[in-house]
């Protein structure tokens, strides 16, 4: 099986290049994930850099751009990919080395939406309880693993990564706006206004297309706009 992998080491390379690799069929298992193949390649060439941790789509470390689409290598079966497999770092973020990108900008936007419960009531003796119906509103929101596949496939995030919050952060913003225990709705909405933070979203829906957890940031963004409209009337 053939691979074409983006290589760049800022200490030795003046510019990035694509390097071809080949794995013989006898070392490949039909059930292998892309990450397994990358680990085989790394055993052969240990200078190949990529992030990985849990290996089962929970930690969100191994987001990469494969055959023109962002995905998690650990949950992508090799047999689902056309060869030669073109593997590049996720677009829109600075490359540290090979497939490793600098996620700082992504995390900065995540922090900007205050991704935690804000409740001014005294801390209760037990948990802050919700009705099952209220809890259900968080389904499809809390599951985000912050892999960055969505934001780095969003053209609006590519053009204005420092100003547009991006789908991942906005999904989390709605996760707390939708939470019946949160009391900072006004502050959260005020923080999202302006032409950039939320309204650079043009409903392109690349985020929905690539999310490895099957989440829908575009719908979350739509819900935020809906609440903004209702509150402004």
């Amino acid at each position: 099986m053939k691979f074409s992998i983006y290589r760049f080491n800022p200490e030795t390379d003046t510019s990035p290049y694509m390097q071809d690799f080949n794995l013989d069929d006898d070392v490949l298992d039909p059930e292998m994930m892309l990450l397994d193949a990358l680990l085989l390649l790394k055993a052969r060439d240990e200078t190949l850099g990529f992030r990985r941790s849990c290996g089962e789509g929970v930690c969100g470390s191994d987001g990469m751009h494969v055959n023109g689409r962002n995905l998690l290598a650990c949950v992508t079966p090799l047999k689902s990919l056309k060869t030669p497999i073109d593997i590049r770092p996720m677009p829109g973020l600075p490359v540290i080395r090979d497939l490793i990108v600098d996620m700082q900008q992504f995390y900065r936007q995540y922090r900007a939406v205050d991704p935690y419960l804000i409740n001014k009531d005294p801390v209760p003796e037990v948990e802050r309880l919700q009705t099952p119906a209220d809890r259900e509103k968080l389904d499809g929101l809390y599951e985000c693993i912050l892999c960055g596949c969505c934001s780095t496939s969003c053209p609006s995030f590519w053009w204005n990564p420092d100003k547009f919050l991006g789908p991942a952060a906005l999904l989390q913003s709605w996760r707390f706006l939708a939470d019946s225990r949160d009391q900072a709705t006004d502050e959260r909405l005020a923080n999202l206004d302006g032409p950039f933070k939320l309204f650079r979203c043009h409903t392109i829906m690349n985020c929905v297309e690539v999310c490895p957890k099957g989440l829908n940031p575009t719908r979350a963004i739509g819900r935020i706009k809906e609440v903004m409209v209702k509150r402004s009337i």
Partner: protein, 114 residues
Amino acid sequence: MSGHTVGLKAWLWQRISAVYLALFFVYLLVQFYLYPFTEYSAWHEWIARPLVGTAFAGFILALLVHLWVGLRDIVLDYIHPLGLRLAVMITIAFILIGSGFWSMQVLILAGRAT
């Protein structure tokens, strides 16, 4: 919510103008299908009707608003140096306002001439 709802207002105006434009286009299609103009005087008589003139003025306004928000979006997305962005937006505003006045003048003259 803060009073500075710049993003929300632009987004809302884009949608409101889109709805008007869509409805007006349907009206135009129906009008031209049912009563196709064969000569200038028939068109002139139609455009000079106060209701049609008002609807047309609304169309021009909606088109200008829609254009402004759409072009502003493109400028905000793609032009990052502040000076250049400002210059392009001022140029666009100038062209749109000029086009608006010119279109309104055409409408008013068409109404008067009857």
